[in-house]
């Protein structure tokens, strides 16, 4: 956990409206676990005032610029341009200065090695699943079910395939892969692999559907949630989500930057989780 005053190594548009950014972060990968995130200050001046949270897609080493130079340790994020902060990010170039705080939060739990691993990603929600797939792969087969509205929302599938992950793509409009929701694919897979465990990240309505399917099939589920964040370190309590047993009379909130962003499904109060609150950007789309 550190605040990196660092630079952008590269920043490319990988699909319309989606970018991949590499940041120079020496020493970061040693601490980063699958499912963790970072808080990024998009420019040194204000506004925007607050940092933006982003999942860690992966970490790695790039060869130095010339021969004999030290390799550069990088952290890669994938982001969707949605508002002020991400628009500024889209205009950043190699060498531009940014600040990142991280790695933050609690990531995924590797889970029972005897179970089939099924990863479900919706749009940009695929981000935290790459490091997870990479870490689960040595122990057995890993499947990725990737859903998006159109083909433009399907990201980085080849990267997963390179890890040896079996990938299944679905789009709402059928422009890539199977037509329909990713949850239909999940239903089929769970019928075929009843001893599976599921890891999911995506828009709230998708997570809600995934939760219902997993409960029906009695398989364990871990989800990575999005919440509005100001500090990212557990100090402001702005990012809470409803924990199991939450009611209006006995509110029970979990701090999503510190106790999450990854939760086991049974930690959360699904009947009242977020859907009506609209704290999740994904709900709007």
């Amino acid at each position: 956990m550190k605040n990196y005053k660092t630079i952008v190594l590269s920043n490319q548009e990988i699909s319309p409206g989606y970018f991949r950014m590499r940041l120079l972060t020496p020493g970061f990968s040693e601490h980063a676990r699958p499912g963790q995130f970072l808080m990024m200050r998009v420019q040194r001046s204000l506004p925007p005032l607050l940092r933006r949270p982003f999942g860690i897609f992966r970490t790695g080493f790039m060869p130095g610029d010339c021969e004999g130079m030290e390799p550069k340790e990088y952290t890669e994020i994938l982001y969707k341009v949605v508002g002020r902060g991400t628009s500024i990010m889209a205009d950043l170039h190699r060498g531009d200065r940014v600040e990142v705080l991280g790695p933050l939060g609690r990531g995924f739990d590797a889970g029972d090695p005897g179970r089939e691993k099924i990863l479900v990603g919706g749009g940009i929600g695929l981000v935290p699943l790459y490091m997870l797939a990479d870490s689960l792969k040595p122990a057995g087969s890993v499947r990725l079910l990737m859903g998006g509205r159109t083909r433009d929302d399907i990201l980085a599938v080849t990267e997963f395939e390179r890890l040896g992950v079996e990938t299944y793509v679905s789009t709402d409009d059928g422009s890539l892969g199977e037509e329909g929701f990713v949850t239909q694919v999940l239903e089929r897979k769970l019928t075929k692999y009843p001893r599976a465990m599921v890891y999911a990240c995506g828009p709230m309505p998708m997570l809600d559907a995934v939760y219902r399917i997993c409960r029906k099939h009695s398989v364990p589920l871990q989800v990575s949630l999005e919440a509005l964040m100001a500090c990212g370190v557990g100090a402001c309590l702005g990012c809470v989500v409803k924990g199991a047993g939450h009611t209006e009379e006995t509110p029970r909130y979990l701090c999503s930057c510190k106790e999450g962003p990854v939760f086991r499904a049974e930690q959360l109060e699904w009947t009242r989780l977020g859907l009506e609150d609209g704290y999740c950007e994904g709900c709007k789309s």
């Binding site: 956990m1 550190k2 605040n3 200050r41 204000l46 506004p47 925007p48 005032l49 607050l50 940092r51 600040e99 705080l101 919440a227 509005l228 964040m229 100001a230 500090c231 990212g232 370190v233 557990g234 100090a235 402001c236 309590l237 702005g238 990012c239 809470v240 989500v241 409803k242 006995t250 509110p251 029970r252 909130y253 510190k258 977020g274 609150d277 609209g278 704290y279 709007k284």
Partner: protein
């Protein structure tokens, strides 16, 4: 320019006294933006800051408001956390062990839902030797009971301060709300009732609307505005309160850079609190301390007292 004297270290003396609490420098976090100290310990040397101010404590743990609780606005943020906290007992059990090991004074911010509860929390905090002083919050805009009703009426403010004073054997700082017509009236009332110092200001009540859904962006509908957007208002109020009372005043509101803090010191604040800026830059307080020191050196001043209240009118 003043003649230059040198302290033993050759560096200017940044230490200040607030109601008998000795601070090595005048910079501390604003309550609610620094957790219980531990949360930010990986990112800055907490022993370098003047004091640690805790999240507002209540008698019983408090769950806080529904989500969404925060919204970003122009140069500021709205929050409606609703004073979520672990409660005094769990604070002692789980949070104090960390604070005990830190070599800087701890100031406990607290509130109550009722007058009796204010008194009870004060009593409990009085018994904790590791707490150097307390900051009484009569100014939170985000809770229905307690909080702001005590802070907007001079008689109610005086009543709660009198009661807390009776139950407390420690320095008492009272934190004021800006959501009043004349802040000096409240300031004088709490001074007379026994406040040893005043911090000013808490957040300004604000609102934001999502134009797509046409719903308020906070579940609570309104929230407290903080950050650079409120600094000029805070500075004006600190200036007014400094004129109105004799007790030391702590300036709070939108401080991000060293010069912001220096403005508050010049109008007469004896210390400052840094809030929202911690979220943006966890090193902000350290940068501010170093910036104040540099400013004193540049101005040829060897004691921060020469800067405090040096406003030319």
């Amino acid at each position: 320019m003043q003649e230059r004297r040198c302290t033993e270290s050759g560096r200017p003396d940044l230490s200040v006294d607030i109601a008998g609490i000795h601070l090595k420098n005048p910079v501390m976090p604003a309550s609610g933006t620094f957790g219980y100290g531990e949360e930010y310990a990986p990112y800055l040397d907490v022993e370098k800051i003047g004091a640690i101010v805790t999240k507002g404590l209540s008698l019983k743990p408090k769950a806080g408001n529904p989500t969404p609780r925060i919204a970003e606005t122009i140069s500021g943020m709205l929050n409606a956390i609703g004073l979520q906290n672990v409660g005094v007992d769990d604070f002692v059990k789980y949070k104090l062990p960390f604070l005990r090991e830190v070599n800087t004074p701890v100031i406990a911010n607290f509130f109550g839902n009722t007058l009796t509860e204010y008194g009870e929390v004060a009593k409990r905090l009085s018994d904790i030797p590791e707490i150097a002083g307390v900051e009484l919050n009569i100014s939170c805009p985000n809770v229905k009971k307690g909080g702001i009703v005590f802070g907007t009426d001079p008689a109610a403010a005086a009543e709660v301060v009198t009661l807390v004073r009776k139950n407390l054997s420690k320095p008492l700082i009272v934190k004021l709300t800006p959501n009043v017509t004349d802040i000096t009236v409240i300031a004088r009332a709490v001074e007379e009732a026994g406040a040893d110092a005043i911090s000013c200001i808490n957040t300004l009540t604000g609102m934001a609307v999502d134009v797509n859904t046409r719903r308020p962006r906070l579940a609570n509908r309104t929230g407290g505005l903080s950050g650079p957007a409120i600094r000029p208002v805070a500075l004006r109020m600190v200036h007014q309160v400094v004129q109105a009372v004799k007790v030391p005043v702590i300036g709070v509101g939108g401080i991000v850079r060293p010069m912001d803090a220096i403005e508050f010191l010049i109008v007469g604040a004896r210390a400052v609190q840094v809030g929202t800026a911690n979220f943006v830059d966890p090193q902000a307080m350290i940068t501010i301390i170093e910036g104040i020191e540099e400013f004193l050196i540049d101005e040829g001043l060897d004691d921060i007292d020469q800067l405090i209240g040096s406003l030319e009118l």
